[in-house]
């Protein structure tokens, strides 16, 4: 099997058109026009592409291949046995955790950093929650020879020390967000010196940082349709690997790129009436940031600082600050426009789980498959566990193991403590 030559653009097959980004009603300068000063040019072009398939540049394909794509689809036989469903339910998972930065985030970090390089940028900047995205950007920047600056939500900056150090080892500059490096960060700190940070706020800081110099570009970890399109490399590989059509496809959701990348090629076939007619697509979120389950479908700001345009999406409100979570990558206030539309249309279902249940399921998976899932990915594992136990005979479940949890020892320290396997509870997280 080889790395796909094209990404897939689901918008071409949607049953109804995707609401575009808009400027706020009372704008001064157009936020949409501002994108040209923030994002890599080619990313903007891909964000507004009509094509169903978008060619992957050869340099990006080579980097994908060099860093471990295609990733494997594995059968979770041990987990099936542990759940007591072996012989009745077949569980498969796409293993994105084997990528060198430990998660699917590298799939879009590579093209975006490459596109920044094409624009003549010398530095990329971004936000990160748990650090998976920041680490992926740091790695992509190191490959293409650019400097990386990362605004990491303060709660994660303090709890995910090893991932922060890994970014720094790759040459990145990492700020805790809110930080004193930007005006939006200083305002947040003035209002609350113990502000835990949020992805929306960290985005605002990164964007402000980029706008302060001509040779910087912002790279986006999720939410944008072009970012989601890059992640479809996962789902396109999966179509070649699946031995049978699943009853369920499951992935966790923060902004939506992991879920979308994993499912959209299959959803596209479903929408075109070609396959996957029986498959249920389940998006799993944290009950602390359940935007698809409890948010409102409306135009809302992409960032807390209100620098970027508005997208129509399920949102908890751009000012929403979820409590600190081990799965910090799931703390974003909204979900990507296309994913929100699919949820609205009933093509995608949403489920949410609290942290303690998720981490316990993550431990179960670790002890049967030998892979410690990232706390974000453990949400998908928890949903698999629930659905598998209730499933009828001959059910097929496939989920995306979007990342590993080897750098999330704080989360599993907490989980082990909750199970009474260690005495001392970990820091952070509720």
């Amino acid at each position: 099997m080889v790395v796909p030559s094209y990404w897939y653009n689901l918008a071409s097959d949607l049953p109804v058109p995707l609401p575009p980004l808009i400027d706020p009603p009372d704008m001064g300068e157009s936020r949409i026009a501002l994108l040209t000063r923030i994002l890599p040019s080619k990313l903007i072009s891909e964000e507004h592409a009509l094509d169903r398939y978008i060619e992957i540049p050869e340099e990006v394909r080579l980097a994908y291949s060099r860093l471990g794509r295609p990733t494997q689809l594995l059968r979770a036989e041990g987990f099936e046995r542990r759940l007591g469903v072996r012989g009745r339910v077949r569980i498969y998972f796409k293993n994105e955790s084997v990528l060198p930065s430990g998660s699917h985030k590298l799939n879009t970090a590579i093209p975006q950093v490459y596109y920044a390089l094409l624009d003549g940028a010398r530095e990329v900047a971004t936000e990160t929650g748990a650090g998976q995205w920041g680490l992926a950007v740091s790695q992509a920047a190191s490959i293409f020879g650019l400097k990386a600056t990362v605004f990491m939500t303060r709660s994660s900056f303090e709890s995910k020390r090893v991932r922060r150090l890994a970014m720094e080892a790759l040459g990145a500059m990492v700020y805790p967000s809110p930080s004193h490096a930007t005006s939006v960060g200083r305002e947040a700190l003035a209002a609350d010196p113990r502000h835990p940070g949020s992805l929306g706020l960290a985005i605002a800081e990164a964007v402000e940082y980029v706008l302060s110099s001509e040779d910087r570009r912002y790279v986006a970890g999720s939410v944008l349709e072009s970012v989601i399109t890059h992640q479809t490399v996962i789902g396109l590989e999966l179509l070649e690997q699946l031995p049978e059509e699943p009853d369920y496809m499951i992935a966790c959701v923060g902004g939506g790129s992991n879920f979308a990348g994993f499912t959209y090629p299959a959803i596209g076939l479903r929408l075109r009436g070609e396959a996957f007619s029986k498959t249920r697509f389940v998006a799993v979120e944290s009950s602390s940031a359940a935007r698809l389950s409890k948010g409102l479908y409306r135009y809302d700001w992409l960032d807390t600082g209100r620098i970027l345009p508005l997208a129509k999406m399920y949102s908890l409100g751009s000012g929403h600050v979820p409590p600190p979570l081990h799965a910090a990558g799931l703390r974003y206030h909204g979900a990507a426009a296309s994913l929100s539309l699919l949820r609205r249309l009933g093509v995608v279902e949403a489920a949410s789980y609290p942290q303690a249940e998720v981490l316990r399921a993550g431990l179960e998976f670790s002890r049967t498959e030998g892979i410690i899932p990232a706390p974000e990915s453990a949400h998908a594992v928890k949903a698999v566990e629930d659905l598998a136990r209730k499933a009828r005979d001959d059910t097929v479940i496939v989920f995306n193991l979007s990342g590993h949890g080897l750098l999330d020892s704080d989360a599993y320290e907490r989980a082990l403590a909750l199970q009474g396997e260690i005495v001392k509870a970990g820091s952070g997280g509720g």
Binding site: A11, S30, L35, H48, L50
Partner: protein, 223 residues
């Protein structure tokens, strides 16, 4: 308006909206000024009656129910407009598509449709099957805003999808060369708005009219 439209083949006249969400700063300002003058009333449209150029109207569907839509379309037909383009219909009220088509035909108008650059292919082919006056492809996410989008590639694909249907391209068409290249890519016409208005505001009527004529001549050379 007569002077600005000297070189145009047809005109698109916007009905003022309180929430012109797909418009950029320049056209939004025209909406703001015009809306403060006439609000949502349709009577002032009578001034368009007897225009010597073919023209269409553009209106935001937001706030209009079926009765309001019928009244709008009937008014449009009564003053000689050829169709009423509703840019927010496909995104905000897609379920209203067939209602809009039916009400347009009932009023004696042809439908005309809006599409964006990231748009379902099935909708574009579906548009063409409804025999519209034209399909309007918005090249950019907002009027008058220029992002590095491969607009020519999008136009070429859109034209393949709509077939013989008249395809016009708009949003950020600001020079004769862009107009020419859009036609070469497959557009049958272009719509120019923000560029001419900006020129009018900054330099006056004659330079704005000249720009409109230069763009029109660029387009005709390519045709």
């Amino acid at each position: 308006m007569d002077r600005l439209s000297t070189c145009a083949d047809f005109l698109e006249v916007g009905i003022p909206s309180a929430k012109p969400i797909y418009d950029g700063p320049i056209v939004r300002e025209t909406h703001r000024i015009a809306f403060s003058e006439i609000g949502g009333r349709l009577e002032p449209l009578k001034v368009l009656e007897g225009m010597d150029k073919p023209y269409t109207l553009l209106a935001y569907l937001d706030g209009l129910d079926r009765v309001g839509l019928r009244r709008l379309l009937e008014t449009a037909a009564s003053i000689g407009a050829l169709c009423v383009l509703l840019p927010d219909l496909p995104f905000e009220r897609p379920e209203m598509l067939n209602v809009y088509v039916g009400e347009s035909l009932r009023a004696g108008l042809k439908p005309c449709f809006f599409a964006s650059s990231r748009f379902p292919h099935g909708w574009l082919t579906g548009y063409s099957e409804l025999d519209p006056l034209y399909v309007y492809l918005g090249l950019q996410p907002a009027t008058g805003v220029k992002l590095p989008v491969d607009v020519f590639k999008n136009v070429a694909l859109a034209k393949r999808l709509v077939g013989d249907t008249y395809l016009v391209a708009g949003f950020s068409v600001r020079s004769p060369s862009i107009a020419r290249d859009l036609v070469k890519a497959g557009a049958d016409g272009v719509v120019v708005g923000s560029a001419v208005i900006k020129k009018y505001v900054e330099d006056g009527l004659e330079p704005a009219a000249r720009l409109a004529c230069e763009i029109a001549s660029g387009l005709r050379r390519a045709a």
